[in-house]
Subunit: 104 residues, 2 copies
DNA sequence: ATAATATGCAGGTAAATACCTGCATGTCAA
DNA sequence: TTGACATGCAGGTATTTACCTGCATATTAT
């Protein structure tokens, strides 16, 4: 997994909106997705390319249409490998802060 | 929580590195953090300001030093409110894909 | 007091990013 | 086959971003 691509992809609100839309209804076409965004089709295409490069979205052609499917695996991997390690800190934060303020 | 600020903050590898450094040792000064980055102090300062604006880092002044503490709460909230909703999709993805390929 | 240290502030530049318009290609339906 | 439709491709621009240099301020130690 390319962690940087995943985080960069998630760093834009339009792309998170696209993932939201696919979460509501998976397998939407480019046109369908565009109806819910306030931007030109080409802009949406670029966002979808970034999501696809991050492996957050997979596509399948059906005739002249392109269907988009969400892939939640990278999200879960990001959580497993990156977010969880910080959760331990929640318990020790106040303790560390107090110690530091006391001059260690 | 400002979701956009959190995601934008996490979208940069230097800022994720800073969070990693704080995870290893909480409460580091700006100078300590800079020793582990290959960039000017002012650049690191800007990154830390972004992390602070996203509430991922809190700071405390001690004399002429500025101590930085990681705050994992926004990360956990991002996970709770945003990542979890996509996990359900993991089970239905293949099913949806198959249905779509068959022409629905 | 003064020198060293830690950080803050004010810009300036180059690259990345997000957006667009215009035209081309491929597919379906009448 | 021809017109309508869905998407692809090639640029162009304006904003944002990441980085820097130079100088200012505040704190500590001698």
């Amino acid at each position: 997994m390319d962690t940087d691509k995943v985080f960069k992809a998630l760093g834009d609100p339009t792309r998170r909106r696209l993932l939201d839309l696919l979460c509501e209804q998976n397998g939407q076409t480019l046109g369908q997705l565009c109806e819910n965004l306030e931007m030109a089709r080409q802009s949406a295409t670029q966002h979808l390319e970034i999501l696809e490069a991050a492996n957050l979205v997979s596509t399948v052609r059906r005739g002249r249409e392109k269907l988009h499917f969400i892939n939640p695996v990278p999200l879960h991997e990001v959580y497993e490998r990156w977010v969880r390690k910080f959760e331990r800190q929640r318990l020790t934060l106040l303790h560390d802060l107090k110690k530091e303020l006391e001059g260690e």
